[in-house]
């Protein structure tokens, strides 16, 4: 066991500055209106830094810087851009521990996750897009003997990106790496709940990028996000968040006729077929862990397996074992490397989770474990902690249909394959799903029948680069985490070239 000192405390591997301005044109710039807001740590509920409260003036200044840099950056060779991304990855790797502790302190998630998942995945993601941009090829099509169509990929120019708070650095990386690889300049707005950790990352990499290529404007959605998303000066907007804001961003984009990519969440089913329990072996143990994955990142994951569907023939025994496994989750100080579940990211998130636990109980769902706020004592009493919670109920209940975004799983049973697929697909969303079976044919068929963009088969919550990630149905538009994301950050230029010396014959 090891417990990291809180950032800024004696012995800590990282310190936050007392204040963060906007990063525009390669330097830090004070907000035009001079206002700042406090940034609390969910670990204790205490503010630890203050953040520039951006407005449309700041967004315009960032767009000026980005447009000023776009032509030169868009004309760099793929090799140059790949080298920059690789250097970014190296710097992050050299400073992994500091960034991981900073991320833990700001978001509330357990440091073992930032050390072993968030930051290593971000490093790999930059390297992945460094690789794929160098390997990308255009196309040559011979239309006839003398007519050739050349297809080139060109950057869009200046793009806007709005980042969520659940994986502040990894989600920023999912958007930044393909955009920069493709040759775009970026104006990025971090979530107002987690605006600071990206500046710690930036402190290690800022010198690697030409001024204006990456600009960060902090602030609230309505004051900074809206002027960015509705600007006629961006060529594309990328957003991860929820459905109403996603629709609003599409409405703004329609006014400017620009593309959007949206990742809007889910209510992911995790299906356990009866053969999972045919033996109490390593695979059975893996499946129990797969059930418990609802608590990863405090449930604040768009693909949280928040609905568990268990076949009736094994229901009681499997659910008993899964409940015991859930009770063994160690909740505590997120800075302790033994801690498995930390704090929810904000007070309003905590309140929302508790309101859902309340309606779940009113609807008649049975609490098998958890169901309350957790008070961890001492300094942590002011933090935002929720007990891992298992509800047993019916798929029509609100807790089975709305994304709670907390460590809450709702469990129901199914009788056969058709029943499982029907319940799994009885949702507005289609981002993730899990299928657990020892039978390859069953797993394959279920995986294809579930209307979701990512189906994990006999695993869950793995996010390697080169595995496309995105939603069906109300879960959004676009596929991140794969080279196909380059398509969302590039235009196709077609040169249609005639090598004939003769007139075309119309006039």
């Amino acid at each position: 066991m090891a417990e990291y000192a809180a950032p800024g405390q004696p012995g800590s591997v990282v310190s936050y500055l007392g204040r963060y301005d906007h990063f525009i044109g390669g330097e830090y710039v004070a907000p035009a209106k001079g206002n700042y807001f406090e940034n609390p740590s969910p670990v204790t509920g205490q503010a630890f830094t203050e953040i520039a409260r951006g407005t449309s003036e700041d967004v315009e200044r960032a767009l000026d810087a980005a447009h000023g840099a776009a032509r030169a950056w868009g004309r760099t060779s793929p090799t140059e851009r790949a080298n920059v991304l690789n250097r970014i990855a190296d710097r992050i790797e050299q400073n992994l521990e500091a960034i991981a502790v900073a991320e833990c302190w700001e978001n509330g998630k357990a440091v073992r996750e930032t050390l072993n998942a968030d930051i290593p995945l971000a490093i790999d993601h930059f390297r992945y897009f460094a690789g794929v941009i160098r390997a990308q090829e255009g196309g040559i099509s011979q239309i006839d003997q003398d007519l050739v169509a050349y297809h080139f990929q060109e950057p869009l120019g200046v793009v806007g990106q709005i980042i969520p708070w659940n994986f502040p650095i990894l989600m920023a990386t999912w958007k930044l790496a393909p955009a920069l690889a493709a040759g775009n300049c970026v104006v990025l707005k971090p979530a107002e709940q987690t605006p600071a950790s990206i500046h710690v990352l930036l402190s290690f990499i800022a010198d690697l990028l030409p001024p204006g290529v990456l600009n960060i404007v902090n602030g609230f959605g309505v004051e900074a996000g809206k002027p960015l998303a509705s600007s006629s000066r961006i060529a594309k907007i990328a957003f991860t968040g929820e459905t109403t804001t996603g629709r609003l961003i599409m409405q703004y984009a329609s006014e400017n006729i620009i593309p959007v990519t949206l990742e809007l969440g889910g209510k992911s089913p995790n299906i356990f077929f009866e053969d999972v329990a045919s033996s109490r072996d390593a695979f059975y143990d893996k499946a129990l862990e797969g059930f418990t994955m609802f608590a990863l990142n405090q449930g604040e994951v768009c693909t949280c397996p928040s609905r568990a569907l268990i076949q009736s023939s094994i229901y009681d025994g499997f659910l008993f074992d899964a409940t015991e496994r859930t009770k063994a989750i160690k909740q505590g100080n997120p800075l302790d490397t033994d801690t498995m579940i930390g704090a929810q990211a904000s007070n309003d998130q905590l309140e929302k989770i508790l309101s859902y636990i309340d309606i779940g109980k009113q609807e008649g769902a049975k609490v098998l474990t958890g169901g309350e706020r957790a008070d961890l004592g001492g300094d942590l009493s002011g933090g935002y902690y929720v007990q891992p919670t298992i509800f047993e109920g019916d798929n029509k209940m609100r807790i089975f249909q709305e994304e709670i975004f907390g460590p809450v799983v709702s469990v129901c049973r199914f009788d056969d394959y058709d029943d499982a697929v029907k319940t799994a697909n009885d949702t507005l969303y289609g981002l993730g799903a899990g299928v657990w079976s020892r039978d390859g044919a069953t797993a394959y068929r279920a995986g294809r029948d579930i209307q979701a963009g990512r189906v994990w088969v006999n695993n869950y919550h793995a996010y390697p680069a080169h595995a496309a990630f995105g939603g069906y149905k109300d879960s959004g538009i676009g596929r991140e985490n794969h080279k196909m994301m380059l398509d969302h950050y590039q235009q196709t230029k077609n040169l249609l070239v005639s090598y004939s010396q003769n007139a075309q014959g119309f006039f």
């Binding site: 807001f37 409260r53 969520p164 708070w165 659940n166 979530a191 107002e192 709940q193 609230f220 959605g221 309505v222 004051e223 996000g225 809206k226 998303a229 991860t240 968040g241 929820e242 459905t243 109403t244 804001t245 996603g246 629709r247 609003l248 409405q251 990742e263 809007l264 969440g265 889910g266 604040e300 768009c302 904000s346 007070n347 309003d348 998130q349 309140e351 929302k352 309101s355 859902y356 309340d358 309606i359 009113q362 609807e363 029509k396 609100r398 249909q401 709305e402 994304e403 709670i404 975004f405 507005l428 969303y429 109300d474 879960s475």
Partner: protein, 121 residues
């Protein structure tokens, strides 16, 4: 008989936001991160359409604040009564109250049999 209501604290916040932004509207969100929460916009900022359901109007000082939700989402929510409350918090998409350090929040209860008969039949 109403599907939606608001707490006195939420009504005070509506008054404050109205003074700065003019007439208001709510649209209930779903999904990730800041979802499952009511979003408050200047009236007309969010374009509702045929896919939305008008849950009702919240009347604050004789002025109505319409509350909307997507029709698909409504099918899963129609058996519940919604009260818009306010809590300390941060964020919430482009919702107007976030810079004030507070968030609108939905509190739910099941419709009574009488309400269900009147509203859902």
């Amino acid at each position: 008989m109403d599907r939606v209501a608001l707490t006195p604290e939420a009504a005070d916040l509506v008054r404050r936001l109205r003074a700065d932004h003019g007439p208001l509207m709510f649209h209930q969100s779903g999904g990730c991160c800041d979802g499952s929460a009511p979003m408050c916009y200047p009236a007309g900022e969010f374009r509702t359409g045929g896919s939305d359901v008008h849950l009702g109007d919240l009347v604050v000082d004789d002025e109505a604040v319409p509350v909307w939700m997507s029709g698909k989402q409504f099918e899963y929510w129609r058996h519940t009564h919604l009260t818009i409350d306010v809590v300390p918090g941060r964020g919430g998409g482009f919702s107007l109250e976030a810079p004030l350090g507070v968030r609108f929040l939905i509190r739910s209860r099941l419709l009574t049999d009488e309400e269900s008969l009147a509203l859902n039949s």
